[in-house]
């Protein structure tokens, strides 16, 4: 008996494994039940899927990975800033990924980790948020939205999903910021950075962060933190996007190529 029994929550992966049936219906069960994924014909997908690849040098399933994302709260709301690079192994799969997901006109989320994992579960969350609105005639709070996401992710814990998300939005007439990841963490905070470039982003972010920042200063801090991360971290790059979240909605502030930013910052240094 678990929380599942009280909330009538979805079955967890473990439960799915026991009744594995290789039918077309089971393979694409997520088309009708979006929270249930088909179980593999082996236990422990983390280890055993990796083993399948180990034995075959030719086969490499490299799905898109690698990121720098950040979010912080200050007096004027929340700033989210992200890069746009997706890497599959050494190969840059894309320089134009939109790593900020627009859940509705109040909520935003960032994606780091497995691109497919994040986009799929954000899509599920978006539908859950919309269903909440239709059922309750009011917008879902960020606390509730993140809890829904956390419960879904937690039920897939230890099955190999890879996600690190920062969600921001209006919540009880104020703006708040949550961090969620595939270990099942869900926590509220002031400053978060996620992804392979986060250690670099934190360096700039922590040294420039204070509550009293003006809007312009906050955008620039977010932008600069991501820019420096793209400069140091090979898995991050592309364009830097900055979003501003206030309690009554969000705005896209800027989209700038890293090369343009680099030239601008270099020129500023020489002055």
């Amino acid at each position: 008996m678990a929380l599942n029994d009280i909330l009538k929550h979805m079955p967890s992966v473990g439960d799915m494994l026991s009744d594995y049936k290789s039918t077309e219906e089971m393979d694409f069960i997520n088309l009708s039940q979006n929270k249930v994924l088909s179980a593999p014909p082996y236990s422990n997908p983390v280890e055993n899927l990796a083993k399948l690849h180990e034995n075959n040098d030719n086969i490499k399933i490299n799905f898109d990975h690698g990121t720098t994302t950040l979010g912080f709260i200050y007096q004027g709301g929340v700033v989210l800033a992200v890069d746009s690079r997706a890497t599959g192994g050494q190969y840059i799969g894309s320089q134009s990924v939109r790593k900020v997901v627009e859940i509705n006109d109040l909520l935003l989320g960032t994606l780091a980790g497995g691109a497919a994992d994040c986009t799929y579960w954000y899509r599920v969350l978006t539908s859950e948020c919309r269903l909440y609105e239709l059922r309750n005639k009011k917008k879902i709070s960020l606390a509730a939205a993140t809890k829904i996401m956390n419960n879904i992710i937690y039920s897939y814990k230890n099955s190999g999903l890879s996600m690190g998300m920062i969600l921001a939005g209006g919540d009880m007439n104020q703006v708040s910021l949550y961090y969620l990841d595939s270990d099942g963490t869900r926590t509220m905070g002031k400053v978060f950075s996620v992804g392979s470039g986060s250690i670099f982003a934190y360096g700039v972010l922590d040294s420039g962060y204070k509550w009293e920042l003006t809007d312009e200063q906050a955008y620039e801090l977010g932008r600069r933190s991501i820019y420096h991360a793209t400069h140091r971290d090979a898995y991050s790059g592309g364009t830097v996007r900055v979003y501003h979240v206030k309690k009554d909605g969000w705005n896209l502030i800027s989209e700038e190529d890293c090369l343009d930013l680099h030239r601008r910052y270099e020129a500023e240094k020489k002055k």
């Binding site: 077309e24 694409f28 088309l31 082996y42 490299n62 691109a115 497919a116 994992d117 986009t119 799929y120």
Partner: protein
């Protein structure tokens, strides 16, 4: 998971370990370009495994509707399964919607969801979907577990790392100080696709023999085949 490796005392001569590997790389490259009111998609026609060439005339293109063509390569048996199920679903859609064709963006999402459904035992395939939606050309590309992104041009498969930079230069005009203004017409797109394959056949052992190109316009899908090196 407990296996025989956890019990070394049983690892004596005569102990047989069975292993099954469901993945194989059958090679092949695919390229797609979207224009203002058209889309061009091409795939080579070689099917191979390791150093063996199985066949030189094998299509990796799947026409799904009058305005959508999917190119799929990688592990051929996975491509075969995935595309046949997708084709069934596309057909089911029109049968349950008074013969209305499923739109390109709906196929794009359907394919993504289907691929993610196999998150824990993925199809080892590289997919590119091209077509037109409301008169405009689109290209969607996928990673093996269903991450979908819209592009204007995209290369996939065994020589994607060779082909994508050519397209970045010729169509994306990436990182150029003075960008030339050459309009992207159907003819130029077809020529570019052909040229990229000629280049790939020169350097990639898994690409060659021929290219099949589908040109998708408002008038439907036109197919062309161009021969490549056969060595």
């Amino acid at each position: 998971m407990l296996g025989i490796n956890q019990f070394p005392e049983y690892q004596v001569p005569g102990a047989v370990q069975h292993q099954f590997n469901p993945y194989e790389n059958n090679g092949g490259s695919i390229v797609a370009i979207a224009g203002d009111n058209f889309a061009v998609i091409g795939a080579d026609t070689r099917l191979s495994a390791g150093y063996n060439i199985f066949t030189r005339n094998h299509s990796k293109l799947f026409q799904l509707t009058s305005s959508a063509v999917l190119a799929s390569c990688g592990n051929w048996c996975d491509s075969d399964t995935l595309t046949s199920i997708l084709q069934t679903r596309v057909r089911q859609y029109s049968d349950t919607h008074e013969n209305k064709e499923i739109s390109l963006n709906a196929i794009a999402q359907l394919l993504s969801t289907m691929m993610y459904g196999r998150r824990f035992f993925p199809y080892y395939v590289s997919n590119i979907l091209a077509g037109i939606y409301e008169g405009k050309g689109y290209v969607y590309s996928y990673d093996p577990i269903g991450h979908c992104e819209r592009h204007t041009y995209r290369a996939g498969g065994s020589s994607s790392a060779l082909l994508q930079p050519i397209l970045d230069n010729q169509i994306g005009l990436k990182n150029m100080e003075e960008k030339p203004t050459i309009p992207l017409t159907v003819d130029r797109a077809v020529k570019l696709v052909t040229d990229t394959f000629i280049s790939a056949a020169e350097r990639d052992i898994y690409t060659g023999d021929g290219v099949k190109i589908s040109i998708i316009t408002e008038n439907g899908v036109e197919e062309r085949q161009i021969p490549l090196r056969k060595d």
